[in-house]
Amino acid sequence: MSDSEQQSARERILDRLTTAQPETAPADNLPMTPSASESDSSARPRSAKQQRQLVSQLADALLASHAEVLHVREDDWPHTLATLAQAEQLRTWLCHPACEAGRMFSTYIGDRQPGALKLRHYSGEYPLPADQAGTRQWPDKAALFHNIDAGLSHATAGIADTGTLLLFSSPTQPRLLSLVPPVHAVTLRYSAIQSNMAECMATNAVFRQRPLPANIIFVSGPSKTADIQQTLAYGAHGPKRLIVMLIDDLAQFSSTSS
């Protein structure tokens, strides 16, 4: 369609909507502000004990959605992940070197050089496999789809009620990293967990940014489908496995309040 046809389609639609406006029949007396009561709780700071309750609520919900949950410490999770990767033959990993989780895992792999583990960086150049000489620039779709066993990223926030992780897209948090590889491993701090979605959106500064990040993803488990005779199957299109590493950073809380 030409621009002028577009313009007139727009005008005609808006004109029909604007003229002769009836009000929608109101259904009884309804509270007009959505979630005021839910976001009230966010104003009060939680004790370490309360925060730990949220952690276990989130972990339970994730487990119920078929995700794998590991409780780890800030300094030892790269070792835990490398051990798991070796045991389960997840050889080629992809991360962004400047993302929190990617940086720590890169340092660990660089220092220890654990056998048979390869870590690719989702930035700059991608070295092609030995049988094809040369390099390509990321994002290389072929490499992403065929040569990566697992992606690693960091979740900025979590929601206890539904067992949900939040991923905000940015230059260091590419979108395909958590989607295309068959396994997605992700770190989340205990302290970043909120009780429900309304609270999470009210307290997290990212939701007040304008414009919002190009993409915000709420992840609540591995990809799944029940489209064949209501039988649940995992790994429909996205990751078949979701490995969540919950980092206990509540030490500073626990000394005072537990």
């Binding site: 639609i13 959505p34 590419p174 190009a214 995992y234």
Partner: protein, 472 residues
């Protein structure tokens, strides 16, 4: 006795015991899952009241919100198009494809794209257009249409899908193992995601405040379709706009609980712009097509406007005793079940979809489970009226297409005669005398009514006479 198309289609399911069992099981499954995530009636009703308030506010401010959404999207770098009908929407999609010299499309699940017949249009024009939702993919592979808005392949058994895959997917060997079947679909579709030029999606909610398109799903194909190809086109009915970002938690919770009985879907995807400077992936261009296709006319009709409150959860069909027995295809419309009975005649006209308005027992289950309180039985009854006459004050352009066409002189005459008889005691007793005394003359069969019911037979004497005998 001659059958209508609707009756023929309904008979296909009704005469197939396996299929009726399939539907029964699927509906029970969805209903039980829904009840399992509804904590208490009070809590859910409070949530539903908030959801309804948001949707009402959105409809009351619809033109302003659409303008705000457009402005915000443009500022974010999303290109906005307006389509008055299906033909315009399809043309816009093709225009974008031509600009980009694109040949292949991969689609996430979108009822709006079903509504405009986009697959058919694109394939006819020589493009490749593949559904990527597992259910939609199965349906497309079989050359069929979805029979449910949330679970498109609900009418197909595992065995039927196993046979379909063995026949249509190259190199795939027959298996009834669901994991292997999903694996086979995954493998085919992954290649397509990698290669497709354009990804197409629907929109569950469009947030005016931030210019954000919200999509919910479990499979990840929606994320794939909106992230991997270099261009993303989202097709969005104009009624899907909501005012604020903070409205999302309430509506999402209502939608996923009512649709699949989940507190949240595996993925909730918020798209606010194309790839930003410095970003490594995501589509370079995002297009939003705002689709009217009859919605603005519904919006102008105070008696039918509540149709547009719908958030497309499908709970009404899951709880409909008619849908459960005849299945989605019987309706012959893109949207089946109670919401389809209300939407299809308004979008495409009563001439084409007038009959499904009658396929309702007015039992009220749909209205009771609707998370935004759409009075579906009331709207169905109202459309039955519209079939027979257009309200006096309504302009032709605002009338439901085909309204008044279903008026039959026989039916209208019968009602007039009844009014006359019931308001004149003398005439009424005369008729009563005739009916009781001449009851032998009543035909043994009265059309379709007695084909499935016991033939009613008037008593030899009226109640009035019996009471007189007893000197009451």
């Amino acid at each position: 006795m001659s059958h209508t198309d609707f009756q023929d289609r309904a008979a296909v399911t009704l005469n197939d015991v396996k299929l009726t069992t399939e539907f029964r099981n699927a509906m029970d499954f969805l209903r039980n899952k829904r009840s399992s995530v509804i904590p208490s009636r009070d809590e859910f009703e409070a949530l539903a009241a908030r959801g309804r308030a948001i949707r009402e506010e959105a409809l009351d401010q619809l033109p302003d919100l659409l303008v705000a959404l457009e402005k915000r999207c443009l500022a974010n770098g999303i290109q906005v198009h307006w389509a008055e009908d299906s033909a315009q929407a399809c043309e816009i999609v093709e225009g974008i494809a031509k600009d980009r010299q694109a040949r292949s499309f991969i689609k996430g699940k979108s009822m709006a794209s079903e509504e405009i017949g986009l697959n058919h249009f694109l394939i006819e024009r020589g493009y490749e257009c593949l559904e990527s939702d597992m259910g939609e993919y199965i349906v497309q592979l079989a050359g069929e249409t979805p029979s449910h808005i949330i679970m498109p392949a609900i009418h197909k058994s595992k065995v039927a899908i196993a046979e379909l895959f063995a026949e249509r997917i190259e190199g795939h060997r027959y298996t009834e193992n669901v994991d292997e079947l999903i694996g086979a679909g995954r493998a085919v579709l992954r290649e397509k995601f990698e290669a497709a030029d354009i990804g197409i999606s629907g929109v569950n909610f469009a947030v005016a405040e931030t210019g954000t398109l919200c999509l919910v799903e479990n499979e990840g194909n929606g994320r794939m379709s909106t992230t991997v190809p270099n261009t993303h086109i989202a097709i969005c009915g104009i009624e899907k706009v909501i005012p604020r970002l903070e409205d999302l938690p309430t509506l999402l919770s209502l939608l996923t609980r009512s649709a699949t009985g989940q507190k949240i879907t595996t993925y909730v995807n918020l798209i606010s712009s194309p790839r930003q400077p410095g970003d490594l992936d995501g589509p370079a261009a995002v297009h939003l097509i705002l689709l009217d296709n009859g919605r603005s006319r519904i919006h102008r009709d105070p008696e039918l406007r509540e149709t547009l409150l719908c958030i497309r959860c499908g709970a009404c069909m899951n709880h409909c005793p008619v849908y459960t027995r005849i299945g989605g295809h019987a309706y012959g419309s893109v949207y089946p079940g109670p919401i389809g009975q209300v939407v299809a005649p308004q979008l495409e006209g009563l001439a084409q979809h007038g009959e499904i308005v009658e396929a309702c027992t007015l039992n009220g289950a749909c209205g009771e489970v609707c998370p935004v309180g759409i009075p579906l039985p009331g709207l169905i009854r109202r459309l039955r009226e519209r079939k027979r006459h257009t309200p006096d004050e309504q302009a032709d352009a605002d009338a439901v297409p085909g309204s008044g066409r279903g008026r039959s002189w026989f039916e209208a005459g019968l009602w007039r005669a009844w009014t006359l008889a019931a308001s004149s005691p003398r005439l009424y007793s005369l008729i009563r005398l005739f009916v009781t005394r001449a009851r032998a003359l009543i035909p043994r069969r009265i059309g379709s009514w007695s084909s499935v019911r016991t033939q009613p037979k008037p008593a030899p004497r009226s109640l009035n006479e019996l009471m007189k005998d007893r000197h009451v």
